[in-house]
Point group: C2
Chain length 235, copies 2
């Protein structure tokens, strides 16, 4: 009996370690997005290089957590809720790693924009706004994961619709901007890729929030609407 409790306690500690690592990785990735968006307005070369370099750390975090998760499956043979937790971790860090890639892409675009001396970033206010929306989504999804709280998922899915709408609006504005001054087409395309990267971050945050519903409720809600998710969560 004591042994069983001990084994179980070690198992709990393993799960806790993995959960904490995911949250650390999440915190770091959010910082990468924030700094990349900041670099778009400052053009700070050192900051840009640092963000690009830091992407290796995000990748290393994913590899480490993936290994840890596989070890837990092999050694502890989790079932039901514990297994769902591990699967959620594995899925979540895939999305976090790709958010990291998008942050690095934004930094590379900032570099490109400032390297060619085109200092004024068109539609920066709108970019900043959509970036804040998606950062909020990522933070909410991480919070939901930390608190095992599926209730916020439908809200994040709706926020993603808002992000998509903002994205389309930015594209329309950029098209007008390009038509007015064709010499600025190159810069506009770079900003378009920044907007696209931010829109993708929203998609990943949405995925992450859906995994939390799976983890807690055991329901796969990846391909259903916000209303349906709400019903599943309240069931």
């Amino acid at each position: 009996m004591i042994t069983k409790e001990h084994v179980s306690k070690k198992f709990d500690a393993d799960l806790e370690e993995v959960r904490t690592s995911v949250l650390q990785m999440g915190g770091f990735v959010v910082q990468q997005i924030e700094q990349a968006v900041e670099a778009l307005s400052t053009g700070d070369e050192q900051a840009i290089e640092q963000i690009i370099k830091n992407d290796h750390r995000v990748n290393a975090m994913q590899v480490k957590i993936d290994e840890l998760s596989c070890q837990i499956i092999a050694r502890r043979q989790p079932t039901a809720g514990d297994l769902r937790m591990i699967m959620t971790v594995i899925n979540t860090i895939t999305d976090l790693e790709r958010i990291g890639d998008e942050a690095a892409k934004i930094a590379r675009m900032a570099k490109l924009i400032y390297d060619t001396g085109r200092l004024k970033v068109p539609r920066f206010i709108e970019i900043k706004h959509i970036a804040n929306l998606t950062i909020d989504m990522v933070n909410k999804a991480l919070d939901a994961f930390a608190r095992l709280d599926p209730s916020v998922s439908a809200k994040i899915v709706r926020q993603d619709d808002e992000v998509d709408e903002e994205f389309r609006s930015i594209i329309r504005q950029l098209i007008t901007f390009m038509m007015e001054d064709p010499r600025k087409i190159s810069t506009a395309i770079e900003i378009l890729f920044v907007a696209k990267a931010i829109e993708r971050i929203g998609d990943h945050a949405k995925n992450m929030s859906e995994y939390v519903v799976y983890m807690v409720k055991g329901k796969d809600v990846r391909h259903i609407s916000a209303d349906e998710i709400e019903r599943e969560v309240n069931e």
Copy 2:
């Protein structure tokens, strides 16, 4: 002893079922890309609607295979190579599902281009070429998965560099096209999103080929170069 063998045979049958399902999903997804690219040149409305509708089938396949994989982990408690196989399946179908999303996006762009009566697709030859490159990558990655063959992974990673180079070339051509005739900026942006979707498919194929190395060799090669992958595979 007989029981053990029986259990093991059922386990083998389970793994085989999952592997076959992944290959079926892969085949269907490749067909979705091919038809979406075809629709770009024909503008065939019915075909476009069908591709967009079919994305639900891709999603359903992912959900089913995911469930099956989790059941195998819970019931059979696989370790070592068997566990790596299941993890590879779970990762692979995530990428296949996202390739499916990109195919549906291409179809939606085709719809947008033909709905507004802008019949001539700019840079279609180049789009067709980069699409063929990425379809070849996806097929190779699926083949490598089917034959448990990690030897092609480095090649696919190098093909992805080629895809990225082609993508940048298409963007440059589109920028020139837009500067020459600013009235065509909207259509050019739609083609740009098509090119971006195809470039993403290449990234996913690259991921899939890297999982095969993990499955067979137990090495995580996601964040290393093609040369390093070659060394790992030949070790």
